[in-house]
Symmetry: C2
Subunit: 327 residues, 2 copies
C-alpha cells in the first residue's frame, strides 16, 4: 500500500500523516510507502518503518505532478490548497494553486493510462455553498459559492466527478466543515477566528472576535476531519454512486454557544479572554457561508463527526495541549 | 453599441446575428459594430450597415482571445462550444474548447483592466444537471452532470459567477433547454434526434428515433433561444442578483407527444416517417438528462419560451421552410 498526500505539510496533512504512521495499516494492508508533497518538502515522519519520499514542488507544474504520481500510489489524498481569505485577496494565486494544481494532478493520473485508477480523496469545503440558504441545507442543494475559493472547489469537484465517471481515477470529494480548533498560528482563512477564540484563551492569551456572537457555523475537529479523509479513502465505489462529492457531517452552533462551551470546559476566566474587534471583510465572507446541513448521504455512508462543541474543545485539549489548560 | 459573438458560425450564432442585424438596435442603442468569431471566420451578414469584423480563431489561444475583445465590445455573447456527443467522445477537445476557450475569453476581459466590464452572456445548458431528479427540478437544485459537456458547462458557470462577483465582467449564464427543431444537417449532439424526428419528416425524409417514445425532455425553439440570449444581454444586474446562472423556461413533453404534435401540425403521412433504431450511447446519455423544471427565477426576470410543442414545430416551419411542408 503506497499513499500520496499533497499539502502534506499543512495542518490536516500533518495530522493525516501522523494517523497513518500510527496505525501503520490502511484497509487491512500494510502501508509500505508514503509520498509527501508540499510547496516546501515536508519533514519525513518519525517512527515510520516503511519508505518515505518527500517532494517540494508546485503540483500545478505538469512535470512535478507527473513525478508525484510516477510511483503509482494506491491512494491519493489531495489536500494542497490556499485558504479562502488568501484566494479572495489574490485571485491569480487561488486559481493557480486551488484549480490548476488540482487539474495538473488529475491530468497526471489520467496520463498514466493502463489500468491505473487510484482512489483520490479531495478535500473540498462547505464554501461550495453560498447564501441565501434554506433553514437546513439538503445534499442536493445548488452550488452557488460566494468566494473565489468556493468557486475553485466546485470546479475541481466537477472534474473529480467527471474523471471518476470516465474511469480515469476513483474520486471522492469530502466537503469539510469549518475545522476547529486549528492548532498553531492563525492562517489567512476567513474562518480562522472560529478557532482562535478557543485556542488563544486556552493558552492564556486574548483573542479577537471579528463577527457578532449570533454568527452560526458548521464545525468539526481536526481529528474528525482526518477521520473523514481516511473513511473516504476506504469507501466502496458502488455504495457511493455517481455523486462523489459529499457534504461532511458536523455540529451547528453559534459563536455564543462556542463561548458557552468554552466556559463549561475551561471556566469563566478562560472564556473572558475574548474581545470583540469587528472586521468587515470577515463579516462579509462569513455571512455568505452555510451553517446547518442535513448530511444524510455522508451519515448513511458511515462518516462521523462530533455531536457537541464541548467535545470539539476537549479533542483540542487532548490532542494539542496534553490535556492541560493554562490558568 | 459594439457586440461580439463567439461561435458566430454555429446555428444559434447565425440566428442571433440575423436577429441583431434585422433589428439594428439593442437596448435602444444603434448597433454600430459586430465582431463575429468562430474557428473558421464566419460570413459577414448581408444588409448590415454598421462595421463588421470577422475572426477565424481558436479563442482558447490567449492571443486570439485578447484580440477578440481588443475593441472592447459592450456585449459579448459567448456561444462557442463543441456539443455533448463530441465532448463525450473526445475528452481533450471538450476541455479545450468548452472550458479552456471560455477561460481564455474571461481572462482576456479581466486583463483589459480599467473600468471595462462588458455584459457577457454565456450559453450554458440544462446538461449541468444529472439524474436522479425530483419530479420537478427547482432553481436551487444541485449541479451533478453526467456528461463531460455538462461538467465543463458547470465549471464555466462558476468562473462566470466569480468573475461577475469580483467585478471583472458582468455575466449572465443561460441554461438552454434542448433546442428543437434544429435546422440543417444533424450535428454530434446526443440530443440531435429530438430535432431530426421532426425536421426530416417535414422534408419528406425518414428519420431514426434512437430512444423509446416515453423519453421526456425540456424543449424550446431556436427562435426562443435567440430571445433568451438577447433578453439576458439586457437584464438588470440588480434584479439578477448573485446567482447569475439561470435555467431557461421550456416545454416538457415525451417523444410520443412530439410525434403527436407533428401529426396534428403536418398530418399522418409526415409523422409515419419516423423509424425506431435504438442507440445505446444516446439512450445512456439522455437517461441522465433532466426533463421538467420549475424555472421561477427566469420567468420572474421575463424570459419566455413556447407553451406547446405544436408552437415549436410551427416556428420551424415558418423560420426554415417558408411555411411549407413536403407532401
Amino acid at each position: 500500500m503506497h499513499i500520496l498526500i499533497t499539502g502534506a505539510a499543512g495542518m490536516i496533512g500533518r495530522k493525516l500523516t501522523a494517523r497513518l504512521v500510527a496505525t501503520g495499516v490502511f484497509n487491512n494492508q500494510q502501508i509500505e510507502k508514503l509520498t509527501l508533497v508540499d510547496v516546501n518538502a515536508p519533514q519525513p515522519p518519525e517512527k515510520f518503518t516503511g519508505r518515505v519520499a518527500t517532494i517540494g514542488a508546485d503540483i500545478a507544474d505538469a512535470v512535478a505532478a507527473r513525478s508525484a504520481v510516477a510511483g503509482r500510489p494506491d491512494v491519493v489524498f489531495h489536500l494542497a490548497a490556499i485558504v479562502s481569505g488568501e484566494a479572495e485577496l489574490d485571485f491569480e494565486k487561488g486559481m493557480h494553486v486551488n484549480f490548476d494544481g488540482s487539474r495538473a494532478l488529475l491530468e497526471a493520473i489520467r496520463a498514466s493510462g493502463d489500468d491505473y485508477r487510484p482512489r483520490l480523496v479531495f478535500s473540498s469545503s462547505i464554501a461550495v455553498f453560498g447564501a441565501p440558504f434554506p433553514e437546513v441545507i439538503p445534499d442536493d442543494f445548488a452550488l452557488t459559492p460566494l468566494t473565489s475559493y468556493g468557486a475553485q472547489k466546485v470546479m475541481v469537484e466537477q472534474m473529480l466527478a467527471d474523471y471518476t465517471r470516465r474511469g480515469f481515477l476513483d474520486g471522492v470529494g469530502v466537503r469539510l466543515p469549518n475545522i476547529v480548533v486549528r492548532p498553531g498560528k492563525p492562517n489567512k482563512a476567513a474562518s480562522g477566528f472560529f478557532s482562535s477564540i478557543i485556542r488563544e484563551p486556552l493558552n492564556g492569551e486574548d483573542a479577537n472576535l471579528p463577527v457578532d456572537e449570533d454568527v452560526r457555523s458548521w464545525h468539526a475537529s481536526p481529528r474528525a476531519a482526518v477521520g473523514f479523509l481516511i473513511h473516504a479513502a476506504g469507501l466502496d465505489s458502488k455504495a457511493l454512486g455517481q455523486r462523489v462529492n459529499l457534504t461532511m457531517p458536523g455540529f451547528c452552533c453559534t459563536v455564543a454557544e462556542q463561548i458557552a462551551a468554552l466556559r463549561r470546559v475551561a471556566g469563566d476566566k478562560v472564556a473572558s479572554r475574548i474581545r470583540h474587534v469587528s472586521d468587515p471583510l470577515v463579516i462579509r465572507i462569513v455571512a455568505g457561508w452555510p451553517s446547518r446541513f442535513d448530511t444524510q448521504r455522508a451519515l448513511t455512508l458511515g462518516f462521523q463527526a462530533e455531536s457537541s462543541f464541548d467535545e470539539i474543545i476537549r479533542a483540542h485539549i487532548d490532542d494539542e495541549l496534553g490535556g492541560r489548560i493554562a490558568a
